[in-house]
């Protein structure tokens, strides 16, 4: 069995704050998980949940209070391993006195590449992220979306085995998002491991082999997007047409759009409901299974956490 690409064990980060740094705020609490080689892993959670903290810990930008992590089998304190990792920070910013080509060339110099190889890669990357025409413009004139593209280019410039992206879709227009999605899929096709954080669930749902949900600094669930969703109870949705106003008690629960109604019932009540509707002369258009979405799963967790947070606040007083 090969080593997992990323291995996190009991990773904890506390920030001291307040007078003399006597108080502590826990930003990440005992995070343990793994990302397998070749997977696209989505790290989802609301703002401030600890996604960026985890990623910064992995990149050695901040240091854990407890716990450890390994990337490609090497401890995260080993800087040399960064040669095999690409990283895109949240809202990246670069030396604004450099052009896109210069900044990529600068970063490329930290890897053992020949001058020709460097130039070739920089050209290719600029083409890939669609910045060829802007290559000679200083970054101070770039828009947020263009900077995001530069960030993506520098993350994959050196053909890394593991790519870690912090909110890669943020600040991008729909076209840009599409392109980032394509790049991630391309990386997967090339056998790279990709870990990216997002708070946009549809991105995670469509791209990821596995997702981890983090709320309030704690990991609340890891798995394929489908399996996570299966934990929710299912229901049935009936779509029907009804002219006139027959006396059907179920109608009060349905939502109406013109002559069209939408009704959601528990699975075991489906047949009883259909019979009732037919009796009233309704024309049934479709019956489908309702899957709980990742979003619902996510919202439940967030709400539970908020309720808990409030309880803590009250007891804290």
């Amino acid at each position: 069995m090969p080593d997992p690409a990323i291995e996190i064990e009991n990773l904890t980060k506390e920030y001291p704050f307040g007078f003399l740094h006597l108080k502590k705020r826990t930003s990440l609490e005992g995070l343990s998980m793994q990302v397998e080689m070749g997977d696209v892993f989505g790290f989802i959670g609301p703002n401030g949940a600890g996604k960026s903290t985890t990623i910064k810990l992995l990149m050695g930008l901040i240091f854990p209070t407890a716990g450890s992590a390994r990337i490609l089998g090497k401890p995260i304190s080993d800087v040399e391993m960064h040669g095999d990792i690409g990283y895109l920070p949240e809202q990246p910013y670069f030396y604004d006195y450099l052009t896109a080509a210069e900044v990529l060339d600068y970063f490329a110099r930290f890897h053992d590449l020949t001058a020709a190889d460097r130039k070739d890669r920089v050209d290719r990357m600029l083409r890939k992220v669609g910045l060829e025409t802007a290559r000679k413009i200083q970054l101070r004139k770039y828009s947020k979306g263009m900077l995001q593209r530069v960030g993506l280019a520098q993350a994959i410039l050196h053909d890394p085995k593991v790519v870690i992206l912090d909110e890669p879709m943020s600040g991008l227009d729909p076209v840009g998002r599409r392109e980032v999605r394509d790049i991630i899929l391309e990386l997967k096709k090339d056998g790279k491991t990709v870990m990216f954080s997002t708070h946009i669930l549809s991105d995670a749902e469509t791209l990821c082999d596995r997702v981890g949900v983090i709320v309030g600094g704690k990991l609340r669930g890891v798995g394929a997007p489908g399996t996570l969703v299966d934990m929710k109870t299912l229901g049935m949705e009936i779509l029907f047409e009804l002219t006139g106003t027959a006396n059907v008690p179920l109608l009060s629960k349905a939502t109406r759009t013109g002559d069209c109604y939408r009704l959601q019932v528990p699975e075991e009540e489906l047949y009883a409901a259909i019979e009732q509707l037919r009796g009233a002369g309704a024309h049934i258009l479709s019956v489908s299974q309702v899957k709980a979405t990742l979003e619902e799963f996510f919202m439940n967790l967030v709400e539970a956490d908020r309720a808990q947070g409030a309880a803590v606040e009250v007891s804290g007083q």
Binding site: L61, F63, V79, G86, L88, P89, P92
Partner: protein, 258 residues
């Protein structure tokens, strides 16, 4: 080491593209030019006036650059978060610091060289020829550069653990204190209490002695600086910078980036 060099060259490139720097150097050259005019009305001591005014201009402009850019070296990269992408490359934090330091020292070297050239031209204009004894001016400029390197190292150290404003204040404070180390040593310590005089003595060796690098008076009068002093001052600057940079690296490699 190679990676520190890459950082250094980029730091140099940043400085080169910074317009403020040109303005400062231009200002220094202007002052040197003005010293020619001042020298002409001070009959008999033209050279003294030109050399001391010129060296002062080089020193002051160098100080401004080294303190403000020195503090900005690290703090700007942290503020703007340009450091995030950089540290995700295979670069040690100590290599980053060393590169930043070397880059700014390189910038200062080029700047002071340009200003020294201006000073020599001013001297040539006044005297119509340069003598061998005029090389003492170059020694004085070299000492100024050593001093500036030490200040950059200190600014770098302070900016590793405090806000830019405080780092500037600390650097300026330590520099001013370092000018008076000699005075501290000259205090009639016999009149002090023994613990106080011991403290004063220790302090006078712990603080960087910036007066070591001041040979402006000698240069103004065209007196020769002994080679041994050049060697000793070079070693002093190298050793002191090593201490300060190691401390900076120790602090910075533990620092959590925001």
């Amino acid at each position: 080491m190679r990676r520190a060099g890459v950082v250094a060259l980029n730091t140099f490139r940043e400085a080169v593209r910074d317009r403020v720097l040109y303005n400062l150097v231009f200002f220094a050259l202007l002052m040197i030019a003005a010293s020619v005019a001042v020298g002409q009305i001070s009959i008999g001591i033209e050279q003294t006036v030109i050399v001391s005014l010129g060296l002062s201009a080089i020193s002051v402009i160098g100080l401004l650059i080294s303190i403000f850019l020195g503090v900005a070296l690290v703090s700007k990269e942290m503020d703007k978060r340009t450091l995030y992408t950089l540290l995700a490359k295979p670069v040690r934090r100590s290599e980053f610091l060393l590169g930043k330091f070397a880059g700014l020292v390189l910038t200062l070297a080029v700047n002071t060289a340009a200003m020294a050239m201006g000073l020599l031209l001013a001297m040539l204009y006044v005297k119509h020829s340069l003598e061998r004894s005029d090389t003492v001016v170059l020694v004085a400029v070299y000492f100024i550069l050593l001093k500036l390197a030490l200040i950059v190292a200190l600014a770098l150290l302070f900016s590793c653990f405090t806000t830019p404003l405080l780092a500037i204040l600390f650097t300026v404070g330590l520099y001013s204190a370092g000018l008076y180390v000699q005075e501290l040593r000259n205090l009639p310590i016999e009149v002090m209490s023994p613990p106080m005089s011991a403290f004063t003595k220790w302090l006078s060796y712990l603080l960087p002695n910036f007066e070591n690098f001041n040979v402006m008076a000698m240069a103004a009068h065209g007196r020769v600086v002994p080679g041994a002093l050049i060697l000793q001052n070079t070693l002093y600057a190298v050793v002191y910078c090593t201490i300060v940079l190691t401390a900076a690296a120790a602090v910075f490699s533990r620092r959590n980036l925001k």
